[in-house]
């Protein structure tokens, strides 16, 4: 059990790890933005009364909720290029996998927020002669958005953790960079412990800040 810790190998390659952290944050932000767009469209489709719209949207959500993300990553990187006839670089494949997958979850966040608004509010707005659009914009969405904040944050937090899977496609995010540093220094204990701490610091800081925001919003509402 006696182990001589030696972090000098990590410090001398710390710039690589920092570059990886930037890569992680980059891919997370791009996928959150695209995922929200996908989720918004899918949520509207699911809420529609037309079967042709809500059936495919439901299938999309159920597929992504019941299959593991790593399968999506490999599918977009290795299988999709065969169908479309051109190869994707790891960043693009990873973003596609992450944003469609999180899109399915964001869609549920949006839908959940909208359907949680009491029926009386819909009926009241209708009784006042509001059109569907005005009702959505002025009555339903302002209330629904506030309820969406907490699950939205949870999902984005999960997505950020899932970006680590992009390492398996050789996209240079934090975990992949750590693997590179490890193969140069043969110091897995120090390298992997360091990046675990880096992930922890970033994610814990973000989740603590978000919890503060959430509490603030709850007080306003």
């Amino acid at each position: 059990m006696r182990y001589g810790w030696d972090f000098s190998a990590v410090w001398s390659h710390f710039d690589m790890l920092l570059a990886g952290l930037v890569g992680t944050i980059e891919i997370a932000l791009v996928s959150i933005v695209l995922g929200v767009l996908v989720g918004f469209v899918v949520a509207l489709m699911r809420l529609s009364h037309r079967r042709a719209l809500h059936m495919p949207a439901t299938a999309f959500v159920e597929f992504y909720r019941n299959t593991p993300p790593i399968v999506h990553f490999f599918w977009f990187f290795y299988a999709l290029p065969i169908v479309i006839g051109l190869s994707l670089d790891p960043f693009v494949a990873a973003v596609l996998a992450l944003s469609t997958q999180s899109g399915a979850f964001y869609a549920e966040v949006f839908r959940g927020g909208i359907v949680s608004i009491e029926r009386g509010q819909w009926e009241g707005a209708k009784a006042l002669g509001m059109t569907y659009r005005t009702m959505m914009r002025r009555v339903i969405l302002p209330q629904a958005l506030r309820r969406m904040v907490a699950p939205f944050i949870d999902r984005s937090f999960e997505l950020t953790k899932t970006t680590a899977l992009a390492s398996s496609l050789a996209y240079a995010e934090l975990l992949y960079q750590a693997m590179q540093v490890n193969s140069m220094t043969f110091r897995p204990m120090e390298v992997y412990t360091t990046i675990a701490v880096m992930y922890f610091v970033v994610l814990f800081t973000v989740s603590t800040l978000m919890r503060l925001v959430e509490r603030r919003l709850a007080r306003v509402g």
Partner: protein, 221 residues
């Protein structure tokens, strides 16, 4: 866009994929049972009111929830054996990482359940002369498990998806076999699509039951 689908390779190697699926289920069940048991112990530590138990338990839970599960898997396979002084097989390392990860999440779920039980129940049991342990076992925990069943089922579903990451440690579960087959026969589209389907069939019944259960419990309250 013209692609000749050829599922013959998949059909021929179906026994290999099914064998992988068995390993997936093994990994899932072992980690689930161990993770829930450990999670229960940790949740009891969290509500024990003793600072020296509570503090480390919080740190443990936060460490596992604020780092990507893939990093945990890699840490337990590549880094932990160095401290341990003994190499772990991929399966054992995966079980270890997934068990600890599951225990952290389920500890939070169970803790939430325990504190949600009204104080009057503890006091009533005490008035009847029951010890704390007996109260916990006969009054509190049965209610906690029922109330938290949907959340625990969701955790089990998440775990089923996460087992696929063990493929990156070369545990020969279904994703690993799928990747091997797709690179051997160069048929990633067919093989990975079938693997996705396998996961869907494995996971969907559970998530369907869990959503039914959630609605059922919500209607009763």
């Amino acid at each position: 866009m013209h692609y000749e689908w050829d599922f013959k390779v998949v059909l021929d190697s179906l026994p290999i994929l099914l064998r992988g699926l068995v390993v997936t289920v093994e990994l899932w069940m072992v980690s689930l049972v161990l993770g829930l048991a450990l999670g229960l112990a940790i949740s009891l530590g969290r509500v024990s009111g003793r600072g020296w138990v509570n503090g480390p338990a919080i740190a443990y839970v936060e460490a596992f929830r604020n780092t990507p599960v893939l990093v945990q898997l890699i840490w337990f396979y590549y880094a932990f054996p160095i401290v341990l002084g003994q190499q772990l097989t991929p399966f054992v390392a995966a079980v270890l990482a997934l068990t600890l990860n599951t225990s952290a999440y389920s500890a939070e779920i169970l803790r939430g359940g325990i504190v949600s039980i009204a104080r009057g129940q503890w006091e009533g049991a005490k008035a009847l002369g029951m010890t704390r342990a007996a109260t916990l076992r006969r009054i509190v925990l049965p209610q906690v498990f029922r109330r938290m069943l949907p959340a625990l089922t969701n955790r089990a579903i998440e775990l089923a998806k996460v087992t696929s990451l063990a493929s990156l440690l070369a545990v020969n579960e279904v994703m690993y076999e799928g990747r091997l087959l797709s690179s051997t026969y160069y048929r990633p589209l067919e093989v990975l699509t079938v693997v996705a389907l396998f996961y869907f069939l494995l996971i969907y019944p559970g998530s369907y039951l869990s959503s039914r259960l959630e609605r059922h419990l919500a209607a009763r309250d």
